[in-house]
């Protein structure tokens, strides 16, 4: 049974998330209402996932992410207001895995939590073969096929794809992708990522205009969505 820690000062929202996760998914849920308590509970309860509100009374939620990332890679989902793109990007760059925009629905919450938990718990069982519907990526042989037809990817495209595959369901910011794929010298050229993502979609997605796997988080970055098997 997975354990989830909610760090949220608003009791109503905390109570809603708690009841939803407990009743719908049967998780064990703890609630902390401040940064201080959140950090203590993270260390003592050892949850499998943290849901963090960025606006806390005793400090910035960003510092909580930094603190947690010093000793564990457990999934962190950030709750944020819609218009704060910079805030989101900052949180993701600090090491958060995903974000939820208030107000969010029950289904959305459960889907995100489950996706993160799956990634976190399934991390150990590495398979060299990944299936995105009819697209098959063989990490061992570095071969990508679609409907058994080989797809030709440029080195950058391949690197981009594998980077996304390494963190499925995690939102990767433009900055993170630039650093991972191109190196640290290219932080200013965000459009590189966009252009190569566009090319990659043309090759992988059935309908590039309405992608199913290589998803865009507008103004933030990209996420690789793994279909439920």
């Amino acid at each position: 049974m997975a354990t989830v820690l909610i760090i949220e000062d608003e009791p109503h929202i905390a109570r809603f998330i708690k009841s939803a996760l407990e009743q719908q998914a049967g998780f064990q849920v703890f609630v902390a209402d401040s940064c201080q308590r959140g950090l203590i509970d993270t260390a003592s309860r050892r949850p499998d996932l943290v849901i963090l509100d960025l606006g806390l009374p005793d400090g910035d939620g960003q510092t909580v992410i930094t603190e947690i990332r010093t000793w564990t890679a457990m999934p962190i989902i950030v709750l944020s207001a819609r218009s704060d793109e910079q805030e989101k990007i900052k949180a993701l760059n600090q090491g958060a895995d995903d974000y939820l925009i208030k107000p969010f629905g029950m289904g959305e919450l459960l889907a995100r939590v489950n996706a993160q938990l799956r990634r976190w718990q399934g991390q150990t069982e590495t398979s060299s073969l990944i299936h995105l519907d009819d697209v098959c990526i063989d990490l061992a042989t570095r071969q990508v096929t679609k409907n058994s037809q080989p797809i030709h990817l440029t080195p950058i495209e391949y690197r981009l794809l594998t980077t996304l595959l390494r963190y499925p369901e995690k939102v990767l910011t433009h900055q993170q992708l630039l650093t991972e794929v191109w190196g640290k010298g290219h932080r200013e050229q965000e459009h590189y990522v966009r252009i190569f993502m566009s090319n990659l979609r043309q090759k992988i997605e059935t309908n590039p205009a309405r992608p199913k796997f290589l998803l865009t988080e507008i103004g933030v970055g990209y996420r690789l969505h793994l279909p439920n098997q």
Partner: protein, 963 residues
């Protein structure tokens, strides 16, 4: 025309050399600023009537019209000439204004209609013309000035004999006095002078052919005027004047272009005028000199103890100063112990290098040094220019505006002087002189047995000194004469007779007379100094009194009351102070919203702030004019002089706070520099006080505004947090409930209710988001972050979270590959597209398709070839927009259909349009056939593509292909 030392162009050692004076540069810049808003003045300038000025002007007008300019004939006097008349055809002509004046009907140029019509070019003939008595300005050139200020370009004509500075020269040459004159400064500020020139012979031929207009009533005089000698002289003057003007243009150009750095402010002229009748020639000469030197000039009258006693000649001084002002000089009356001292001090004060003086006929050569000699003793660096000033006949060429300053029997200085030595005082003096003499005689006679007659003489002398000191010169002289007579009669042998046996007594008498006169002079001088000091102190005291009263005032009403009381006490009989009605009041919403309070200050009806009786002479129209133009008007000015009241704007650094109109209590001496100075000071004190109140209000407004901003900020953060949280909870609870029902078997009604709760919560959420966005947009909180983005990716990103909704509304996406990458702010564009798509889903029936289309389209009605705009269309096939609502739907809180039950609030579209406008584009809506609405976003498009250099050449890419 003599010059004692000639002009010395060498710079004075006190001046800093060859450095452009910043003040002068600023003046030039200011002059350019003013000129750009002003209309241009073109003068067709000729030597006499009949040279064809009007003809040339009309020809030029036709040329301008042919270029498509709006040309209007304000007034053109054709004098029945055929050729000129013919030229009028094809030009718009402004009807003349009819003026009824003393049973006469006069036709005049209609200034107000011309201002209202506002043509590009206006023709106004005869610049020096004097207007009918009830017109706004006494002179036509003042009309022209107002037209130019209103931005209208004016073509006009002028004859050389009308130039004020040449007036006397032409009078001497032709023997015809010209009454209508034009100030030289107005001529000089014209943007273009066109000389219309024909030879004297040609002109005479034209005259003989009857082509020159001659007024019948003055036929003879005018014929006398048109002699060949006269015409040649006039032509020479006109040519020379134009040449001067061209020279001045050249110098201006050189100054601007700094071809050679000539900065010679020491060329300024100081003219000292005397109190005799022949100042006119001196002043006109100085005016010509100043024009040719292109320099500032000052005319001063120095009041000295000697001069102030001669009260009769004050009128001449005033005339001289007024003439000088008309010719463009700065005038002043200063007090000093001697003329030479006064002039040198003044010259030092204003850094003046040349002093111009009138040279009188030498009367007592050698006895006392001339003023010129005294000045050169006092300051060897001053250059002196002496103008021969032989006595002319006391003729006066009276301008029309003299009527405003009517005959002055007793001017101000005169009155003040007589305060010092007033006639009543004098009568007492005579009486004291007589009584004193009697007493001294009686004492002398009674003491004669013990006294020597020489001691009696001492007693007389004592008495004379007393009378002189106490009662002034004339009683002193009377006392001397009586004393001498009495002494002679009673004490000198033979007594009881006026005969004198001993000749030495004549010496005694003479010495007594001289001593008494000397003492007299000294005493009078002292008294004058004391008087001047006292007068200055009094002025300072009354001004400081005003300043004190104004400084404690806290409201405009108080200031107006105090100012009116003060002006009534010291300057005027009747005072009216008006202020505009809409000077911003604290807490008024309009003032809060308006950033520029200055602009509101200009608007509004003038009104009295305190109850004050408005005299019948007061004219509201003049007051408004003064307020609008920030210029003086009425009595004692050049504008609307017929009104008995004097109007002044209350302005500080160009901002007019109100006007003051006053009825001078001493109309005769009102225009004296001294009185004007007092009024200037008072007016600026009042204006400053009003500005202080205004600034205080402005500061208060700023505080209120800041407070309002703070409140708004608080409100917005409350909205964003305190509403968003409960809404989040609400919608989450609803979805939770939904999930709960899904697992069991709910009845349809309950399920619908829960669905509605969820929907409403989402709507409130959307509304909050829109309001916040709109508020931040309104307060300028939007910062664009344009970058290269993929349009396909953007649309894909928008659609993904909405996929559920598109299950009911099939979506077709069509993106032109040309617009795959665009340079814009993706978040803003995403907001707009989300809004449009949400609208399309909300306002169309289920199962109707929605289309998104992005193409490159040529810009409609553009002038540049191949200019394209990125066009994104969101089209639905719903019922479309109600007719006539295509633009209204973009207004805040307007929905396409007011009766619609569909939820939503018309903020989304207003916000979208603002956002698109922030991106530099447009958002429009239209209905399409057969039914449906289409929203079109047009964004600026540049053919540039994202910079990919360095992308492929990256060393990291040099690794071998991975597969």
């Amino acid at each position: 025309m003599l010059s004692s030392s000639g002009f010395n162009y060498a710079k004075r050692p006190t001046m800093k050399d060859a450095r452009p004076d910043p003040d002068v540069l600023l003046q030039q810049i200011h002059a350019q600023d003013v000129k750009t808003q002003r209309g241009k003045l073109k003068i067709f300038f000729g030597s006499s009537a009949g040279v064809g000025k009007t003809y040339d002007m009309l020809t030029a007008a036709h040329q301008a019209k042919a270029q498509g300019l709006d040309v209007l004939v304000g007034i053109v006097e054709t004098h029945g000439r055929q050729e000129t008349q013919a030229l009028l055809a094809g030009l718009d002509i402004l009807p003349l204004k009819t003026i009824h004046y003393r049973d006469q009907v006069l036709y005049e140029f209609d200034l107000d209609s011309a201002l209202a019509r506002k043509p590009t070019i206006l023709l106004v003939d005869e610049l020096a013309h004097s207007n009918a008595p009830t017109s706004r300005h006494p002179k036509r050139w003042q009309d022209v000035e107002e037209l130019i200020q209103a931005g209208i370009n004016v073509y006009t004509t002028l004859n050389v004999q009308h130039l004020a500075s040449l007036n006397d020269v032409i009078n001497q040459i032709t023997g015809v006095a010209v009454r209508e004159t034009l100030p030289d400064w107005f001529f000089d500020q014209a943007d273009a002078i066109v000389l219309v020139d024909i030879t004297a012979d040609e002109l005479l031929t034209r005259l003989q052919e009857g082509k020159v207009y001659l007024p019948s009533q003055a036929q003879k005089a005018v014929k006398h005027f048109f002699r060949k000698g006269n015409l040649i002289a006039l032509r020479e003057l006109a040519l020379r004047r134009t040449a001067d003007r061209v020279d001045a243009d050249m110098r201006d150009y050189r100054k601007q272009a700094a071809i050679t750095p000539i900065w010679n402010t020491a060329d300024q002229l100081l003219v000292g005028v005397g109190n005799s009748s022949n100042n006119e020639r001196l002043i006109r000469h100085a005016a010509r000199l100043a024009t040719s030197l292109h320099t500032q000039w000052y005319v001063v009258y120095v009041e000295t103890p000697n001069r102030q006693a001669k009260t009769v000649n004050q009128q001449w001084v005033l005339d001289a100063l007024r003439l000088a002002e008309e010719l463009g000089a700065k005038t002043d009356v200063i007090s000093a112990s001697s003329i030479a001292e006064g002039l040198t001090t003044y010259a030092h004060q204003f850094n003046i290098g040349h002093v111009v003086l009138g040279q009188h006929q030498i009367k007592f050569a050698g006895i006392r040094p001339s003023i010129a000699e005294l000045i050169s003793q006092q300051d060897t660096k001053l250059d002196l220019i002496l103008v021969n000033q032989t006595h002319e006949r006391n003729k006066k060429i009276q301008g029309n505006n003299n009527s405003s300053i009517s005959l002055q029997k007793k001017p101000f200085i005169d009155r003040l002087a007589s305060q010092a030595i007033n006639s009543k005082h004098n009568q007492v003096g005579y009486l004291v002189a007589i009584i004193g003499c009697t007493i001294v005689t009686v004492i002398g006679l009674s003491l004669l047995t013990w006294f020597d007659s020489a001691n009696v003489l001492m007693l007389y002398l004592l008495m004379i000194v007393f009378v002189s000191v106490r009662f002034g010169r004339i009683p002193g002289v009377i006392a001397t004469l009586i004393s001498v007579s009495c002494f002679d009669y009673f004490f000198v042998q033979p007594t009881m007779s006026f005969s004198v046996s001993d000749v030495q007594y004549l010496v005694t008498f003479a010495v007594m007379l001289i001593v008494s006169l000397l003492i007299n002079n000294l005493a009078v001088g002292l008294r004058f100094q004391a008087f001047v000091a006292r007068r200055r102190e009094q002025q300072a005291i009354i001004i400081s009194h005003l300043a004190q009263q104004l400084s404690v005032a806290r409201k405009n009403e108080h200031i107006v009351t105090e100012a009116q009381r003060w002006l009534r006490n010291h300057i005027a009989n009747d005072v009216v102070i008006l202020m505009p009605s809409t000077l911003p009041e604290p807490l008024s919403e309009q003032a809060l919203l308006s950033d520029s309070i200055k602009s509101t200050g200009r608007r509004g009806q003038l009104q009295t702030l305190v109850d004050s009786n408005i005299p019948p002479e007061f004219d509201w129209a003049i007051a408004q004019w003064v307020f609008d133009h920030n210029q003086n008007a009425g009595f004692g000015t050049h504008t609307l002089v017929a009104n008995a009241m004097h109007y002044r704007p209350l302005s500080v650094s160009g901002q007019v706070f109100g006007i003051v109109a006053l009825m001078p209590n001493m109309p005769n001496s009102f225009h004296l520099p001294e009185n004007q100075r007092l009024l200037d000071m008072a007016v600026s004190q009042i204006a400053l006080a009003l500005e202080r109140i205004h600034l205080a209000k402005t500061a208060q407004l700023a505080v209120i505004k800041a407070e309002g901003e703070r409140l708004r900020g608080t409100l917005l953060s409350a909205l964003s947090h305190d509403i968003r949280t409960p809404v989040t909870v609400l919608s989450a609870l609803a979805s939770n409930l939904m999930q709960h029902y899904n697992s069991q078997t709910p009845d349809a009604i309950t399920k619908n209710l829960v669905q509605d709760i969820q929907q409403q919560a989402q709507n409130i959420q959307q509304l909050v988001v829109n309001i916040l966005d709109y508020a931040s947009l309104q307060s300028g909180g939007l910062t664009l972050k344009p970058q290269w983005i993929s349009l396909e990716e953007l649309i894909g990103g928008i659609i993904y979270p909405m996929e559920e909704l598109f299950k009911t509304h099939p979506l077709t996406i069509n993106i032109d590959p040309q617009v795959q990458f665009i340079f814009t702010d993706e978040l803003i564009l995403a907001r707009v597209l989300t809004n449009l798509l949400t609208n399309a889903i909300n306002y169309t029936p289920i199962e109707t398709p929605i289309f998104i289309e992005a193409t490159l389209e040529p810009v409609a009605n553009n002038t540049i070839q191949n200019q394209h705009s990125l066009t994104i269309r969101v089209t639905d096939q719903g019922s479309g927009i109600k007719a006539g609502m295509e633009t209204k739907i973009f207004e805040r809180f307007t929905r396409g259909d007011n009766e619609s039950t569909t939820t939503g609030l018309g903020l989304g579209l207003a916000l979208s349009r603002e956002l698109v406008q922030n991106l530099g584009g447009t958002l429009t809506a239209q209905n399409i056939a057969p039914h449906g609405a289409q929203f079109t976003i047009r964004l600026p498009w540049t053919a540039a593509q994202p910079d990919l250099t360095g992308l492929l050449a990256e060393p990291m890419l040099a690794t071998q292909p991975d597969f």
